[in-house]
Amino acid sequence: MAPHTPQRSSRPGKAVARLGRLTMVGYVARRLLQSVGVLLGVSVIVFGLVHLTGDPTRLLLPLEAREEDVRQMRTLLGLDDPLYVQYLRFVSRAVRGDFGLSFKHQLPALTLIFQTLPATLQLTAAGLTLALVVAVPAGILAALKRNSLIDAVCSVGVLLGQAMPVYWLGLLLIMVFAVGLGWFPAAGRDGWTSLVLPATALGAFSMARIARMARSGMLEVLAQDYVRTARAAGIRTFVVTYKYALKNAAIPLVTIIGLEFGILLGGAVITETIFAWPGVGRLAVDAIFSRDYPLVQAIVAVLATTFVVINLVIDLVYTYLDPRIVYVRSAK
């Protein structure tokens, strides 16, 4: 990392600019290729999921299926072909968005997913927003007033938030705010009031993690030389805090949002089950229990793709905001 920084600053001008553009293009290309590779890996696992027990026909058919149905299904699915032929067929169909029909609903799996995905995205977005809105100011405040009462309250909150399983928190919220106080509905998706409890349950864990990172990031930045210099130069504390420190503390936060989004998508599976939220997570749980394997495959594939795409976008935005990262990474 270190050797490249001086080189960059000692040779300013066109050459470096051109080098920068080239590596930027190279970096974007490589990052795209990487994402395709990851998605290929995902496809192997999704394909393997159905072949786990050896003979997928048993998984794909209802338990009470007759022997001749099983045989017919085998030929229909082309299960007598070599495994790699089956895999290639699976991938070439999946790329075109064809994961087959859902057994239970008798509809294309992808259609079902696109019907429920908005609800899930709404829930995860609400959870993430809530987490950010509470956690970032709380973490920064805790760092600025280190060892104060606010800091103590924050760290207790962080510890509890990280230790409370989402399914338990969800039940507690239902018990207190739906059954006890009757403020919000306990289940369903009907207006913004029904969003409050599931979003809180889902966002709590991320809230704790983000608050913790915001606090430690801010403390780290506040200890930097340039902050001290700015203070020594007589710049007001308010300006130093918000203009100098905060901006730099924000950078690592941007990257974790991508990872956090993946955690939230996973958490949505459980949250949606508890609150009867009509999203992809509930669809998935339902599909697993009704042995609807094409639908399970499609859901895993779509959620993984969403995660990969979001992280790709965040990475690219990130390198745009802080171009040094491109030089460093592509120099390796």
């Binding site: 990851v38 027990t53 509890l160 039940l171 507690l172 229990f289 895993v300 990969v308």
Partner: protein
């Protein structure tokens, strides 16, 4: 309360004193939880599976209608909650420990190989890591457990096989810097073979992050196990698990608060204790560690 005395103390002592309080708290809770899990058959006042339908849905003893012989009440089948929580701890902690060991074995091995040999092995392993990060692990676990059938062994295997990524990433990052150090070059110059170099010289120096990650992952695995149980894909009844008890309690949130609240409290306390211990270990062993 006695904050005044601390004001003039050097900056270093303060965090240390607070951390050791955390450690003591974490240790104590974990010791109580672990001890009561190990001794559950001796401590539990009742057989956890015994149904007493005459005494269904009794609240904890401090509430009206509570019974002294059921300190934490009974569930919808008249089973003793305290006994079930004690026995459930065996599953939660036991499965958690084994699953963490398994995922550490996989993750540390792959992380060592990726970090030490670099090049194509590294690129390949890290792409596999990316794949596992992209797939919602809970869905993958549910799909696999459902296909293979929910059993103790399958649950542990799935949990270990989906969480090794955490170990692989941190070990790789650490090994990347360790392999450039002089003592590794020295050991290599003395003619040590790669495998010996890896196991005798690199691995021991990468232990700190492994221990810290293992502790934090244990907390995660406890939540993970109860989540699978909660969804009905964990260790099957009649073995009581905390997650299963919670999902039983779901239907009684309006009438019997203790059914879902108490096992959840057990999960939270255990996870909290393990997390505190993990934080303390990190701050003590290597404060710069980003886990």
């Amino acid at each position: 309360m006695s904050m005044v005395a601390d004001v003039r103390a050097p900056v270093v002592t303060r965090p240390r004193r607070r951390l050791s309080f955390r450690a003591v708290f974490g240790f104590t809770v974990l010791l109580v939880m672990g001890g009561s899990a190990v001794l559950a058959p001796q401590l539990a006042p009742w057989d956890p599976a015994r149904q007493m339908l005459m005494k269904r849905l009794r609240p904890p003893m401090w509430q009206e209608r509570g019974l002294r012989e059921h300190p934490l009440g009974t569930d919808h089948l008249g089973r003793d909650i305290l006994s079930r929580i004690l026995h459930g701890g065996r599953i939660s902690l036991g499965v958690g420990l084994v699953a963490v060991t398994l995922s550490a074995l996989i993750g540390v091995t792959l992380g060592l190989l990726a970090g030490f040999f670099g090049g194509r092995a590294d690129a390949f392993i890290m792409r596999v890591v990316d794949v596992f990060l992209a797939i919602p692990y809970i869905l993958l676990a549910m799909g696999v457990v459902f296909a293979l059938g929910p059993s103790l062994v399958n649950v542990i295997l799935v949990m270990g096989a989906t969480r090794w990524v955490q170990f692989a990433r941190i070990v790789r990052a650490d090994v990347l810097s360790i392999r450039e150090r002089e003592f590794v070059a020295g050991a290599r110059a003395r003619g040590n073979r790669p495998l010996r170099l890896l196991l005798r010289h690199v691995l021991p120096n990468a232990l700190t992050p492994i221990i810290v990650v293992a502790t934090l992952e244990l907390a995660f695995m406890i939540i993970y196990e109860s989540a699978l149980s909660f969804l009905g894909l964990g260790v099957q009844p009649p073995t009581p698990t905390w997650g299963w008890m919670l999902s039983d309690g779901r239907n009684y949130v309006a009438t019997a608060w203790w059914l879902a609240t108490l096992p959840g409290l057990a999960i939270m306390l255990t996870v909290l204790a393990v997390n505190l211990l993990g934080d303390w270990l990190r701050d003590t062993l290597d404060p710069r560690l980003k886990v």
